[in-house]
Every structure is written in structure tokens, then in C-alpha cells.
């Protein structure tokens, strides 16, 4: 940002995203007010900050339709001391990593006391060794990453236990049948989808599966551009496909049921203030603290934060009706027919059966792998450390797209109409219509035309005279 020191938070946020855009060749400059939210519950400041309770502001934005490709890796590598020439960065061959089944690139910056600014560059990728092996062999060796640091002989990398699940492929039918008993690889899995064929309404579903034998509390964040508007009163929670009750929330002081975000505005709530936890606080339910900032069409996204309680070994399903608004002609992207990418939902698990630990009493006979589960549970960070976040995949919404040639049709049509109307009115105003008796004995009507007559039609002439 240089010599000019922007004062307001939003100016500095703009400066930050523009600098990041320039640094990493990404379209981050596009993270404007239509994408920026302030989810204070889900994202909490990290690093050595003066005081956590000190009044602070938070900015959060997602750019879901962004590709990550070679040009993002180039400046990333330039930040490394030896680029990709040595060390573990040697693995960052763009042709290999962008061929991976999954890849992610991260830059984390935080301030640490007495250390300074810490920048963590992260690159994650999931490779499929079978696809890479020339002859499709499956008995692959573990990835050999013994390489040299510039100043060390070799670097130590934390070796994860590599597990091979041996399955008998001859017995493929029974294998497929047994997949339901295979323990899930993740503790919490989340799936989000959008159903509905209409171009006006849809149905948003969030499925969170808790694979742990303990109750898990997790923060839930949904930052939704105004391209999808929630009907909060239709929010329903199902646990393992049995409905737990409809969240027909009531405003305590009015007793009016909240039907849609627009009602909240009509009730006199300021647009800027999030609807606070107290309004929706239902202590014994699975959706606890609901905080919602309604969207402002064409300018600000919606922000929905909640605390979900996931009972052990269950699937919590949240459903909600949403409506798709109608966009202005100029608001559509160049590839409008492809649809809009919606930012991912974020889950932040923060409590693992802590308050109901007595309930969790697995006997060895019931839970053969309880110690393993205990270990996994205890491996989760508790406090004073970086929370783990789970992001859902990006979702695509199909909004009503106009026929983009329509404006030209309209322009052409209206121009034609205006020309016709103007022409006739102009003619009516500037011409004088008189009846001219035509003498049948006159030799040539063309001779008369030399004076004034423009057109002869059935004995009546239209005389033209300029005003």
C-alpha cells in the first residue's frame, strides 16, 4: 500500500486484496462488498494480538469460481529461498501437481510476538500413484521424498503410517456389500447440495455426519451472495432421517413468526445489525445459536452462523427453502449459462463430548476400537490452538438467464417504433392536407408537381409546403 496510509478498515481490506491479487496473480481484487462478510463467531483472530476482547473488525471473503493454476504457483515459488530448485519445494513441479486428483495452495500470515510476521506457505495435493505408474501397477512404493535442504544433508519429514486396505477382489460382491461397515476416514463429513428444478425456488440441504462416538459441537458458517436468499422459517433439522422439529422461530417481543428475511427488514431491524443470538436461542435443540445477517440485493451477501450439535454416530440434515432472485442484465457474468459458483460452507468443530463426557462410556465389548476413537478425539485441538475448519465443495446455482440478444431486439424494435411515430407525427405537423380538384382536362399532372403537388392519388392531391 506504500506511502499512502489508508485509514479505514475497508480501505485497508481493499489494499490487502489488491496487493494479494498482484502478488499471486489471482483475481482477488474481485472480493468486493458483494462478497465480503464479517463472521466473528467462526473466524477468530489468530496470532499474538494485543487483546482478544479488544474491539476489532473482521473481513472474510470467498472467491469460489477461481482456478488455481501455474501462474499462481510461480509467484508462490518465488517467495521460497531456492524456488523449486531444491528441498521439498522440488516436488512442486507444476505439471505434476496440477495433474493431481486434488490440490490446494495456501498462504497464512500472522503476527507472533517477539518473532515477527510469520508467513506459512502450504501446498497440498492428493496423487494417484496408480495413474502415474507406467504399467498401472498397484504395488507401488511409498513416495520417496528424501531430498536435500540447502544446508542440511537431509530433512526429516513426519512419516504418516501408510495403511493398505487389503481386499479380495475376487470376492468383489461381498466387498461392495460391506462398504457400509467400513469405518469412515474422516471424523466429520459434510455434504451440501441444492435441489429443485425451478428457476425461482430451491431447497438447500446440509448433511453433517458425525462418525465419532461422542457428541460434537461445531460452528457452522454460510456466507451466501444475495443470488440465493434463505427462508429461515423453513429451516428444519432431521437426525438420521427423523424430523426433530421445525425451527419456526419467534421474535420474543412481538410474537410474529419470521417468514422471510424481508420481514425482518420490515420489522424495523437495521440492515446492518445481525439478528442476534437471543432471538433464536433454543438451548435444547441441535441448532443453537443462530445469527443471521440478511442480504441486501445487489450489494451485500447474507451471513448465517450457527452452532450445530451432532449426536454420536448420526447424520444431521438441515434443510431450508431458498429463493433465487432475478439478476439485472449487467450483473450476469460472461458465461452466465454455466451458473454461479456459491462459496463453501465452513464447519468448525470445537467441542468433542466435553460437557457430556459421563454419557460417553464405551464398554470394550460395544466399541472395539474405542481407544482409537479416544486417541482421535484427543488429537483434536482443544483450546489456544488453531481450530480445524471443514469446507464443503463449491456449489453451482443455476439462475434465470435472459436471452442476451434480447436488449438488441428491444433496441431495434423501439427504435423502429419511435421512428414510425416520430415520422407520422412530424408529417402531420409539417404537412398541410388540402383537397385539390383535379381538372381532368389538365394535360400532365407532373407539370403541377413542379409547383407544389407531390403525389396524386385518386383525384386527391397531397400538397406539401414547408413551414
Amino acid at each position: 500500500m506504500g506511502d499512502t496510509l489508508p485509514t479505514s478498515v475497508d480501505e485497508r481490506w481493499q489494499g490487502l486484496r489488491n496487493s494479494l491479487a498482484g502478488l499471486f496473480c489471482a483475481s482477488l481484487g474481485h472480493l468486493d462488498d458483494q462478497r465480503t462478510t464479517s463472521p466473528t463467531l467462526t473466524f477468530q483472530p489468530e496470532g499474538s494480538l494485543p487483546n482478544f476482547t479488544y474491539p476489532h473488525q473482521l473481513r472474510h471473503a470467498t472467491l469460489p469460481s477461481e482456478h488455481v493454476c501455474t501462474e499462481n504457483l510461480t509467484p508462490f515459488l518465488k517467495l521460497l529461498p531456492c524456488k523449486s530448485l531444491s528441498g521439498i519445494a522440488h516436488l512442486l513441479n507444476p505439471h505434476r501437481v496440477f495433474d493431481a486428483d486434488w490440490h490446494g495452495l495456501g498462504v497464512h500470515v500472522r503476527y507472533r510476538e517477539r518473532v515477527g510476521v510469520e508467513v506459512r506457505l502450504a501446498f497440498q495435493a492428493v496423487f494417484d500413484p496408480v495413474r502415474y505408474s507406467h504399467d498401472g501397477r498397484r504395488d507401488h512404493e511409498p513416495l520417496d521424498v528424501a531430498m536435500k535442504w540447502p544446508d542440511e544433508n537431509s530433512f526429516a519429514y513426519r512419516e504418516h503410517p501408510i495403511k493398505f486396505v487389503h481386499t479380495d477382489f475376487a470376492d468383489i460382491d461381498s466387498f461392495a456389500a460391506d462398504t457400509s461397515k467400513v469405518s469412515s476416514l474422516t471424523d466429520i463429513s459434510v455434504r451440501r447440495n441444492l435441489k429443485g428444478t425451478s428457476q425461482a425456488d430451491a431447497h438447500l440441504t446440509l448433511e453433517v455426519t458425525n462418525n465419532l462416538p461422542v457428541r460434537v459441537k461445531t460452528g457452522y458458517l454460510e456466507t451466501m451472495p444475495w443470488h440465493l436468499q434463505f427462508y429461515l422459517h423453513t429451516l428444519c433439522a432431521h437426525v438420521d432421517d427423523s424430523q426433530r422439529g421445525k425451527y419456526q422461530s419467534y421474535l420474543p417481543h412481538t410474537g410474529v413468526s419470521i417468514l422471510c428475511p424481508m420481514w425482518l427488514l420490515a420489522l424495523g431491524l437495521d440492515e446492518g445489525t445481525p439478528i442476534d443470538a437471543a432471538l433464536f436461542h433454543r438451548p435444547d435443540d441441535l441448532v443453537n445459536i443462530l445469527s443471521y445477517t440478511p442480504p441486501v440485493p445487489h450489494s451485500r451477501p447474507a451471513l448465517l452462523q450457527a452452532v450445530l450439535t451432532l449426536p454420536p454416530h448420526t447424520t444431521l440434515r438441515l434443510t431450508m427453502d431458498v429463493s433465487k432472485p432475478f439478476l439485472r442484465y449487467t450483473e450476469h457474468p460472461p458465461d452466465a449459462q454455466r451458473g454461479w459458483d456459491l462459496p463453501p460452507a465452513v464447519l468448525v468443530p470445537f467441542a468433542f463430548g466435553e460437557e457430556d463426557r459421563p454419557e460417553f462410556d464405551p464398554s470394550p465389548s460395544n466399541e472395539p476400537n474405542s481407544t482409537w476413537v479416544e486417541r482421535r478425539v484427543s488429537s483434536y485441538p482443544r483450546r489456544h490452538s488453531r481450530p480445524r475448519r471443514i469446507y464443503t465443495p463449491v456449489m453451482l446455482v443455476d439462475l434465470a438467464t435472459p436471452d442476451f440478444s434480447m436488449p438488441y431486439n428491444v433496441i431495434i424494435m423501439s427504435c423502429t417504433l419511435i421512428a414510425l411515430i416520430f415520422g407520422s407525427v412530424f408529417n402531420l405537423l409539417t404537412r398541410r392536407f388540402v383537397v385539390v380538384p383535379v381538372d381532368p382536362g389538365a394535360a400532365d399532372p407532373e407539370k403541377d408537381a413542379a409547383e407544389e403537388v407531390a403525389h396524386v392519388d385518386g383525384g386527391v392531391c397531397t400538397a406539401k409546403q414547408t413551414l
Binding site: 481484487g29 493454476c69 505439471h95 460472461p334
Partner: protein, 381 residues
């Protein structure tokens, strides 16, 4: 060092540095691929081929503004992730290991393109330097555009168009703001030559791939990629450029002489009426290369004999190696010392006064004409 000997030293230096006839001190390139979607792979390859060429000939990434409207390299349809090839032989990966795309995806708009060209006060202060065209009146600018176009327009992302008038006006504004010394405009699209027909600013050299009512065609298909990989015109230009290196003495005329309508399948055109130099004197590297030019001024004679070599940012180097920064120097300062030849300035000022008088006369004359016309009409009534 005495003044006379200094002057004697200057002569060969001036001769050495000034032999090209071009007075630019830095080179910039704006490379635009205006097409979105996978089937326009070839347009991305066109722009990336030019990117590779200008980078190979010495223009650094900081002086190249690359605009790519889509990402074909990491497109799921690309069988070769992270690679863009411009030939079916697939010997040369254009996306490679070291590429910086400044504007990409939805950022490639007519508005952004015009803001990049005209810039200075037209972009937000926080926009990074890599997204700005920081040229001056000693910059040679190369603008390359490719995409789908028609008579006097070029489509951006299938959703908007830039017209030949827009580009001509933007270039005129660049000239007024002293943002280029010479400008080379190259465009590969259907009816491309119409796009440069509206230029009216000085020092502009332009070339295009096809005449009006004529299509530009792709050069070759690749079966693995599944679409055409490069356009014919750009292919043959790049083929010529592959034989050029940083010290090459090939001229623009040599480049234009290689145009073969039979091979390109269209009739490329050149517009040089705005370009003051002969095409035989204009080197290809004047626009495609990052050749740094130094300007030599005669040393000031008098009390402080020193050897001034003004390089781009007006830093003066003394013979003993110390560097004098003379940012504040004006013509009058130097004139007072007695070294700088004031005649060109005086001539320019006199010229300016003359033109001012001319302007006055013209204004009075036109007023008189208008008044007499009004009077004549009034007398008729």
C-alpha cells in the same frame, strides 16, 4: 576531465547508442487474449506464444501485461494439465514453469483493458504495479490482441466488444499523456485490419491478420487436445520471431515481408502512415525486445566539468564512479552552466508562440465568418 575531451568521448558513445534511430529507453508489452471457453484454446496459445517471445527477447515480467480471458491450462478438458501447446508436435510448453498472468478470467474486460492503456489516475491507488502499464514518453509499447472480431470490433469474452474507435481514442489519450514513444499494434482476428484503421495518433505502427470481409483461420488441430491449437497468422509471425535474438538486426520490414497470404489463408495488412521512421530502420527488437537504450547528452562546459550520461531516470554518473542524482535539474539550470544547447528549446517555444498566434487568427476568422453568415441570414429575413 576537460570539456573538449569529454565531448570527444561522447561521440563514439552517441554513435554506438544511437545507431538504431529509436529513442526509446524501455519496452512494454500488452498481450490480450479476449476469448473465453475451451474451444478458443488457440487464442490463449496465440497470446502465450507472444508472451514467450517477448520474454525471450528480454522484456521482463514486470513490463508485460498479460490478459487471458480463460484458463485452459488447468481446464479439466486439458489432457496435459498445466501445459498449453501451440503445435501438435507439443515440443514447447507455453504455460511452462514461469508465467505470470496479470489479468485473467472475468477481469479481462474492455474497461480494464482501456484502463490499463490510459491508466494514471484511472485505476485505484491500491492496484498493484503488476497490473499497471507504467510507461513514459520513452517507452516502446507493443500491443497484441487476439480473439473473435468483425468489422471494426473485437469481442471480449463473448459478452462485450471493443471498437476500433475505442482503441484509437485510448491510444490518442496515451499519446497526450506521454505514455509512449512508439507503439506497435498487432491483432489476429477476423477482419483484423479494420481494427487499426481508426488510429490517428502519431508514432503508431499497426499490422493485422486479415482485410475487411475476410476471416482469419486457425493453423492446425491437435487430436489429443481436440481443438485447434494456434492461428495461422500468429503461427507464422512466431515462426519468424523464433529466428530473432536480442542482438538481431532484423527490421519490421523483414517481418512484414514474410507475410504470405497463401500460407496464412488471409491477407495481412500493415499501416505505417503514422509511423515516422522507415520500416527498414525499425528493428524488430525495438518492440519485441527489452533493449535498454541510453541517451547521451553533451557535457556541460565550464566550472564543473563532469561527464553526464543521462540514463532513463536522469541519474548522472561521474567519471570517478560516483553518481550524481540530478532530479531537480531543469533546462534553465543547465543553460546557466552553459552546456546544454538551448536552441531546440527556443525553437520549440518560438514554434509554440507561432502556433498560438495562428490559433488566434483562426479563432477570429471563424468568428467573423459565423457573424457574417448570421448577418446575411438576418438580412434575408
Amino acid at each position: 576531465m576537460l570539456g573538449s575531451s569529454a565531448r570527444a568521448d561522447v561521440e563514439p558513445v552517441t554513435e554506438f547508442l544511437g545507431r538504431h534511430g529509436s529513442s526509446h529507453t524501455n519496452n512494454w508489452a500488452v498481450l490480450v487474449c479476449a476469448s473465453r471457453y475451451w474451444f478458443n484454446y488457440r487464442h490463449m496459445a496465440n497470446a502465450l506464444g507472444m508472451y514467450r517471445t517477448v520474454k525471450r527477447l528480454g522484456i521482463p515480467d514486470s513490463n508485460i501485461i498479460l490478459m487471458l480471458a480463460d484458463d485452459v491450462a488447468c481446464n479439466p478438458r486439458n489432457k496435459f494439465p498445466g501445459c498449453v501447446y501451440s503445435s501438435s508436435a507439443k515440443t514447447l510448453d507455453l504455460y511452462g514453469d514461469n508465467i505470470e498472468v496479470d489479468y485473467r478470467g472475468y477481469e479481462v474486460t474492455v474497461e480494464n483493458f482501456l484502463r490499463v492503456l490510459t491508466a494514471l489516475g484511472r485505476v485505484e491507488p491500491s492496484v498493484p504495479r503488476s497490473k499497471r502499464l507504467l510507461t513514459d514518453d520513452r517507452s516502446n509499447v507493443f500491443i497484441y490482441m487476439t480473439g473473435h472480431g468483425g468489422n471494426e470490433f473485437l469481442k471480449f469474452q463473448d459478452s462485450e466488444e471493443i471498437s476500433a474507435f475505442d482503441i484509437a481514442d485510448a491510444v490518442a489519450q496515451m499519446w497526450e499523456k506521454k505514455r509512449y514513444n512508439e507503439l506497435f499494434f498487432m491483432i489476429d482476428t477476423c477482419q483484423a485490419n479494420t481494427m487499426y484503421s481508426k488510429f490517428y495518433s502519431p508514432n503508431v505502427l499497426a499490422t493485422g491478420s486479415s482485410v475487411i470481409h475476410e476471416n482469419s483461420y486457425s493453423h492446425e488441430n491437435d487430436r489429443d487436445i481436440g481443438v485447434a491449437v494456434i492461428d495461422a497468422y500468429t503461427h507464422y509471425v512466431l515462426q519468424f520471431m523464433e529466428g530473432i535474438n536480442k542482438t538481431s538486426q532484423a527490421t519490421m520490414q523483414d517481418l512484414f515481408d514474410t507475410y504470405d497470404p497463401d500460407k496464412i489463408n488471409s491477407h495481412p495488412g500493415v499501416r505505417s502512415d503514422l509511423f515516422p521512421r522507415s520500416l527498414r530502420d525499425a528493428l524488430v527488437t525495438d518492440f519485441f525486445g527489452g533493449v535498454a537504450q541510453a541517451e547521451v547528452l553533451t557535457p556541460p562546459e565550464g566550472a564543473q566539468p563532469s561527464h553526464f550520461l543521462f540514463i532513463n531516470n536522469a541519474s548522472a554518473i561521474e567519471p570517478d564512479g560516483s553518481v550524481l542524482y540530478r532530479y531537480g535539474d531543469t533546462a534553465t539550470d543547465l543553460d546557466a552552466i552553459g552546456g546544454l544547447d538551448g536552441h531546440p528549446f527556443l525553437a520549440a517555444t518560438a514554434d509554440g508562440q507561432k502556433s498560438a498566434i495562428d490559433g488566434n487568427i483562426r479563432a477570429w476568422a471563424s468568428t467573423a465568418v459565423v457573424l457574417s453568415l448570421v448577418g446575411w441570414i438576418a438580412s434575408r429575413e
